[in-house]
């Protein structure tokens, strides 16, 4: 299997993707939406949208601090302004409303969201905890599910590799959001965190499918050697050791080949549903669909081209170390 043969190259690519993603995330930064940063977001849709300069002139007279006014279309294609400000009090909101809805513009407030800074902070905190908790739970579960497999590598190795692959799967869509945020001003909101958590839960499936096959093939291709050992004190005990008819790398290679089609097809069906959501769904869930799609693709890629080579690399490294 070429993936195993050139495993070092694929591992380097995988690590490269992660480094580039991290570079993008920390270099460009994520733009926090009001869910996290606190503030107000007002969407006003118009029959005749007034000129931006006029609205801004009006807003400048109010003591709002920094704000951003953006032209956009709403779900039904009407012209709208999106106004982002700091969190507004009741009276401030009223004066802002009066400013943006000018006479004859036929404006209505179609969406208004205001989040206090405390709530935003709290949500950030919760998001970090949730992502950490999901990762931890997955390692533990995989380690337990693979408990029967002790040889040639222990069950916790499968868990650890799965989580490394997951880190890859989460970094890619996050980097995508950083890029979109930098160039198009796309903001990170609660939906983004939900998408990331869903990516965590879902993209692990592909890795499991391959590792499940590895687990099965290990049993299929290994030979058991039983030997009676005389332990001190005159007790005899039976010691079981294993050996393979094939190198471990080849076994993982066979497992990838066996499961390649199903890895691709399961990701494909999920991807198809997400493409439909992206193109035909409402604007509010567009970025959600995009993040998930990026995560699903990254997940399919990482299970085949990253997790599996890493498993072989680790097993061979361990063997070399034991020989020394």
């Amino acid at each position: 299997m070429f993936i195993i043969k050139y495993k070092n190259i694929f591992l380097a690519i995988g690590v490269g993707i992660m480094i580039i993603s991290l570079g993008l995330i920390f270099g460009l930064g994520l733009k926090p939406g009001i869910d996290f940063a606190g503030g107000s977001l007002m969407e006003v849709s118009y029959d005749n949208r007034p000129a931006k300069a006029d609205v801004e002139a009006g807003l400048n007279e109010l003591d709002l601090g920094g704000y951003s006014l953006r032209e956009a279309d709403d779900e039904s294609g009407r012209d709208v302004y999106m106004l982002r400000t700091r969190a507004l009090s009741d009276s401030e909101r009223t004066s802002v409303e009066e400013t943006v809805i000018t006479d004859g513009s036929g404006g209505t407030i179609t969406r208004f969201t205001s989040v206090g800074p405390v709530i935003g902070q709290e949500l950030q905190e919760k998001a970090k905890w949730a992502i950490g908790a999901v990762s931890l739970v997955i390692v533990i579960y995989i380690a337990i599910a693979f408990l029967g497999v002790r040889w040639p590598v222990g069950s916790s190795v499968y868990g650890a590799i799965t989580v490394l692959a997951l880190a890859h799967d989460v970094m890619v869509p996050t980097a995508l959001m950083a890029v979109l945020g930098y160039f198009y001003g796309v903001e990170v909101d609660v939906l983004f965190v939900m998408a990331l958590l869903a990516v965590l839960g879902y993209s692990v499936n592909d890795t499991i499918v391959i590792f499940d096959r590895v687990r099965e093939n290990i049993i299929k291709y290994r030979k058991e050697h039983k030997k009676t050992v005389n332990a001190p004190g005159g007790i005899t005990r039976e010691e079981v050791t294993y050996s393979f008819n094939k190198p471990f790398g080849e076994i993982v290679g066979i497992s990838i080949k066996d499961t390649l089609l199903r890895s691709i097809n399961t990701s494909l069906t999920t991807g198809l549903a997400l493409v439909a959501l992206y193109y035909f769904g409402g604007d509010v869930t567009k970025n959600f669909a995009l993040v998930l799609l990026a995560g699903v693709i990254a997940g399919a890629y990482s299970s085949i081209f990253f997790a599996s080579p890493l498993l072989v690399w680790y097993a061979e490294w361990k063997e070399r170390k034991n020989k020394k």
Binding site: E75, G116, V118, E122, E125, I208, T269, G281
Partner: protein
Amino acid sequence: MATETGGNMIVRLFYALLTLAIAASVAFFVYQNVVTPDSKYPFKLGLDLSGGSHLVYEADTSEVNPEEVDELMNVLRVVIERRVNIFGVSEPIVQVESSSVVSDEQKERLVVELPGVTDVKEAVAEIGRTPLLEFKLIDEEALLEAVAMESISIEGATVTPSEGSADPYTDTGLTGRYLQSAQLQFAGTGGAGGLSNEPIVAITWNAEGAALFEEITANNTGKRLAIFLDGEEISSPRINERISGGQAVISGGFTPEEARDLVQNLNFGALPVPIELVSTQTIGAALGGEVLEKGMMAGVIGFAFVMAFMLLWYRLPGLVAVVALLSYVVVMLALFQLIPVVLTAAGLAGFILTIGMAVDANVLVFERMKEELRDGKGSREAAIVGFKRAWSAIRDGNVTSLLSAIILFWFGTSMVKGFALVFGIGVIVSMLSALLVTRTLLVALPDRKRDEGVVGRLYESGLGK
């Protein structure tokens, strides 16, 4: 369910038909609930799809004994609920939400959802108008001092009040939370028949309040007790004697209208703790409808994509998977109606995601089945062995998805919870649909080897013949 490869064909067919019949009746149930106007189980739409306002208040519980917080928040909820009900919103939701387990300081919040109300200003005003009633004892000396200060400063000099000057008002702990009812009365009507016909507000305390009031009046006879409404002193009668029986009277030079409003406000609830609006979300009904329509469209198209792929790639088993996916969709819709799950834009997106995920188990089984067919097994045996072999991967994959759904739910604000719930239920139902529907139908299909005629070829997959 038949598990042997031999077995009775009639029994298999019976189970297959039974499965289809159950799925069809679930579909009929869902359809009935949609077309019947006053159905008992309609779809519940979240505010972001139906339009409305979502308000989050934070309660200031810093002055309250921690043990009483839960009870007070419950009282607050009841009071606000009563308030909200006055302005005739259909199905408002008022619920207490404690801030997360993870933050250092526990914050108590009240979430108010008002479907159809897009004028938040009015709603906020209505909710905010609820009075906060407090009773405070007056320290006459400190009061005199404070008044003196004020008169000096009025005369023109800038005077900074001396550091030591005490707050003339001391909290008694007696607040509107102990109120049982308030009544409008006119001074003089009940008693001596004096000329004054001043409107007064008579308060009846609950048992706890009555005891507290009696204690306060007993210990402070001769002092004055100030009555504050929303932080403003409205009257300060002198305590002439110990008052038992749980009655008090507020007279503050009200006009009859003022007194009547006050009584109404008090009866509809004096707030037990002060609250502050910390987050608002309003979505216009037209916009919500648009999002819903597009979401349903995306769902139908996503379903069609997945269906087309499964049919083209997996042929006969693909058809079985499509039937299983259909039953997955109707069971999910029925659960949305029955539980009920409040559908939000995020929940809808989650549902569409699970449509793509739901066939995954089928894919795993069909691929396994193909391996067995290649080994020369008949299609029925291949299906049964395929299920057995694919089970561990299906189980592990679904368990991890389910675990993340549970953590999402725990993490959740109401919006996240909606998604997590749909995602979690989706994982369970899709697993069941693969194990029950796909399996039952597959074993009821004619048993062929892979090179046995046209039907045999239908078990193949992909682009080959």
